[in-house]
């Protein structure tokens, strides 16, 4: 965080007392060294709240105690990982985004004979299933490979099963309808008493994998990258890294979709054309210019 010039720094510093700040640094450093999860460039305010929550839940007096626990108890790391990765998502979240994608982006994708879409930070997979259904309805799913990645293996496992609680399905159905879906949503899943399962026809073209935006590099070239409401938890250094990664991973004229409340870091604004500013859908410009500013 040494090159940090942004105003929120003062908030952090005013709220965090120095000791707590050091402890958090140690905790994050320890997690990174032992488990390889790099939270060092996550926003402190959010991390701090979640660490405090976990401390309260575990009845631990200090963050150092938490550090000790996590260093010696690998299973506790999973708990902490779940705490740190906010897995809030739903199908067709921000219906206007999917509606816009269907109406504006899909026509632009039709000419491609083969499509690769990357859902970075897919969490429990709601978004990637939503996208797969959308592409299925638009007749694009057969030639599309969807890559859904998250750093949290547990949620990836969950996402892989394509299993969602029945008690969330009504709102998913409503979202689907609002997002411009006009077929029978019920045709895509089967149920048992507690869960709905998406049919293989939908999930066959989805590849789930663990991938950490903070540490891993690119693994393919994609026509579309969606990374919605993930970067808000990162500081600018990490955001910079991730935007760089995305820019490298996009094909010429590829599409980048980010969360409705997020903004593209200004150094990258020149590399993209704002296709749909309201929905935060950008298109990579043809000119290949240097992104590396670091």
């Amino acid at each position: 965080m040494r090159d940090h010039f942004y105003p929120h720094e003062r908030n952090d510093s005013s709220v965090l007392n120095e000791l707590e700040s050091i402890e958090i640094n140690l905790l994050l450093e320890g997690i990174y060294r032992v488990y390889g999860f790099d939270f060092r460039h996550y926003l402190r305010s959010s991390l701090q709240r979640r660490i405090r929550n976990r401390m309260n839940a575990e009845g631990l007096p200090t963050i150092t105690a938490l550090l000790e626990k996590v260093l010696h108890d690998a299973s506790f790391m999973k708990t902490l990982l779940n705490d740190f990765s906010i897995n809030v998502t739903e199908m067709y979240r921000d219906q206007s985004f999917f509606r816009a994608f269907r109406q504006e982006i899909v026509p632009l994708l039709r000419p491609y004979s083969e499509l690769r879409i990357w859902h970075a930070g897919c969490s429990t997979g709601e978004e990637v299933y939503s996208m797969a259904i959308l592409l299925h309805e638009e007749g694009l799913l057969d030639r599309t490979k969807l890559y859904a990645t998250d750093m949290n293996e547990q949620v990836i496992e969950q996402a892989k099963r394509g299993r969602f609680q029945l008690k969330r399905m009504q709102s998913f159905t409503k979202n689907y309808q609002l997002a411009g879906g006009n077929r029978e949503f019920s045709a895509y899943y089967t149920t048992d008493q507690e869960h709905a399962y998406f049919k293989p026809a939908i999930s066959d073209n989805i590849v789930f994998a663990q991938h950490n935006l903070a540490t891993d590099s690119t693994f393919n070239e994609f026509h579309v990258i969606l990374c919605r409401n993930v970067l808000i938890y990162f500081d600018t250094v990490l955001q910079h890294r991730v935007y760089n990664l995305f820019h490298e991973s996009l094909t010429q004229r590829g599409f980048l979709g980010i969360g409705s409340k997020e903004t593209l870091l200004s150094p990258f604004k020149t590399h993209y054309e704002e296709l749909m500013p309201c929905e935060r859908i950008y298109r990579k410009r043809l000119v290949q210019s240097n992104v590396n500013r670091e």
């Binding site: 942004y6 709102s171 019920s186 899943y189 008493q193 808000i232």
Partner: protein, 922 residues
Amino acid sequence: MLTKLKFTIRSKIAIGYFLIICCLGASIVIVTDRMAALQDEVAAMTSLDIEAHHSIAAVRFDAVSMENGQRGYLLTGEEDYLEAYNTGKTQWEVNYNSLYTYLSDNPNTHRELEEVKFAIQSWVKEVAEPTIEMKRNGDEEALSAFLQANSSKPSINDLPEKFESLRDKEIQSTKLRILELENRNRLLTLSIYILLFVVTIIAFIIVAFVSGLIVRTIKQVSNTITNIASAGGDLTTRIQVKTNDEIRDLGEATNKLLASLESQNWIQSRVAEVATMNQGISDLPTLAQSFLSKVAPMIGASYGVFYIRKESHEGQRLVRIAAYASQGEEGGRSSFKIGEGLVGQSAQDKRFFLLNQMPEHHAVITTGLGQTVPQSILIVPIEYEGKVEAVVEFASIESFTSEHLKLLEEIAQDFGIAVINVAGRMEVERLLSESQMLTEELQAQTEELQTQSEELQMQQEEMRMTTEHLEEQNLYAQQKTKELEKTKRELEDYSARLKQSSEYKTNFLANMSHELRTPLNSILILSQLLSDNDNGTLTEDEQGYAKVIYASGNDLLKLIDDILDLSKIEAGKAVLNIDEVNLTEIPELIRLSFDHVAENKGLPFHIHMESGLPAIWHTDGQRLQQIIKNLLSNAFKFTEQGSVTMRLDWASPIEVDQWLPMYSGERVLAVSVTDTGIGIPLNKQQLIFEAFQQVDGKTNRQYGGTGLGLSISNEFAKLLDGNIALSSTPNEGSCFTLYLPNLLNGRRHSVQQAQLEAAASIEEDSHVLMGWEQADSNSSAAARAINGHEELLFKGKRVLLAEDDARNVYALVKALENKGMDVIVAGNGKRCMELLHADPEIDLILMDIMMPVMDGFETMKAIRELPQLRNMPIIALTAKAMKSDRDKCLEAGASDYISKPLQMDQLFSLMRVWLTKQVGQS
């Protein structure tokens, strides 16, 4: 030029006027002089004239008085007369001399004058003097003689004539003079005019020259100004004035104005440039960087650093966020406290610092070729609302000009707002993402809380249940004996009733069988007799009819047998006789039945038996035969050419795992029947076996009796704990394989249980004949047992079905009731509303769209208008492929939709979703 004397417009005009007045004065002097001379001449001439006249008159008078004196004396001799003569004699010469002077300039008169003089003198000398002398002497005679000889003597008498001629001459000369004067006078007048004319011309020339001098320069100036104006304000043009006067002053003043305007303009355009650059930048480092890259070249700075004020826990600091041509980290300190160093001081005092002549060791400007020390350093604070927001430092190899300073001042004024704006925007963006983050976290926490509270509720529920359970157990324990006794009695009772009912049923079936077979048998026998036509009384056609009757009757009989078989199975009456079956006998038995069929159809019929098979197999031999026969008759029925093959073999472990997982790892018999018939398309394959379970028997009928036969075979196979697999390709043939386990003792418990259940369901249901339709097959019963929870989800749920088609209503009601739901049926929308008004305690509504009286759309709208039913799940049943209908459904208020013909699995999925209490619902 500056030393040159100033020649002002005033002096120009004054000199002009002066010159004109001079000319006028000179001309007046000349004229007056000329006139005075003329006048003098006239006066002189006049006085000369008068004098001359006087003198002439005096001389004449003298001459006359001398003559008179002489004469008097001569006459009288009196001396008195002589006196007059003497006076005349002295006087006339004086007078003559003056006359002579008067007339001396007139040579014409000289002769006359000389003649007069001579006449007088000669008279005096020759006449007067001698006569007087003679008188005095008294010489009278001489005198008289003298007087007598007068004629030759000079006389004075012709003197007046002489004078007259002198006078004439004199007048004449005067007249000449006057003429001359007049000429000169005329000349003078002319010369006055000429002079006037000349003076006027000179005046004009002067005026033209002077005004030209003034107007030309003014025009030049005004032209230059017009040019500047018309050239869109090209302020680089300057006014050139060659004269050294007020116009030059004006020009210089204008030039000064232009220069100041140009510099102002330069500043303004630079300020505007900087201001436009500010737009669209949303973070401070970029803003600062572009500010430096923009401003530094403007002011010729070769080095620049941008510090921004930051609040930190140590107080306010100025932190470097951008640099221009910097030397990396060493190129200037990264931060200052307020008041620290000149940068800090500048922020504190809000003033500029301009330093010139830097010492050697000051920051250096590096180029590719070397380093130099800056000449001048400029530190500029950027303020907003009286607060310094940023400080910029520039260094240059040259000195900064006042223009640069002015420019920076201007820019600094506006730039403060830009900095504040961008900082504000960044803050807003940060807050926005923070809020988003908080929202997400909140959501996550809410969900967590929700889960926790749900867990808590469940725990509570569990505890409550446990308590209740304990109480119940207590109670139960007390009543246990009683209950047991009662149960025992009831069981006995039930068993008796079951037996009775079973007996009734058996009787009924036996009767049925008898009652149906008896007439059918007679028909068969009679029709066969007829078709034999032993008497030869029937025509060929009639014989054919009889054969048809016979064949149809046979089919009917087989059908009845099948139905009875099936109902027996369903009723649990299909008693199995598990015994040792000699497998080696089977081919023999089958050949007995089918060889002739094969012969009739002209098809080769092969039976293969694997050599390693045991001779004895534990199963129900009769049922086994029935299954094989069914499969074979089916095969022959649909095969026109090729062959039919039956094969007895071991099932491979994979097949066992797939078809009989219960017997995984054991040896299983596989009996396959392969034909080369029409085959069964893939989508129909499942139907052959599953059609029965799906209530709808219609599809089966198109396969005729064999279809039923297959179903029965399937049921039998399941009774025997076996299974039938089908693989088929249309137009190439089918292969049915029966997998049969070796049923040693105790192996059939699952079968028996299924049978029992089936029996029980029949017991509950009064539709005995529909038994096979009502009761689930073994497998679905088993499925039901597995999904025990599902029953909980559906059990007791009240579903309102709005549908007018009786067949659909019937099928749906049956299906839903099987799942344990209560179904209320409304034949149309109006009825539906009535029912809802009477009893709104409904869990879910299934709404057909096409209904009489009041259709689905209207009904859904009406339902949604009732506040208490706003959240009621309504599933619309729409016709397939009508997209517009779906949109209309959602518009009308449907929660979801499903298209007809209904896929029951999908419907149940949908109902599970809409019957499950949702997250966040109370």
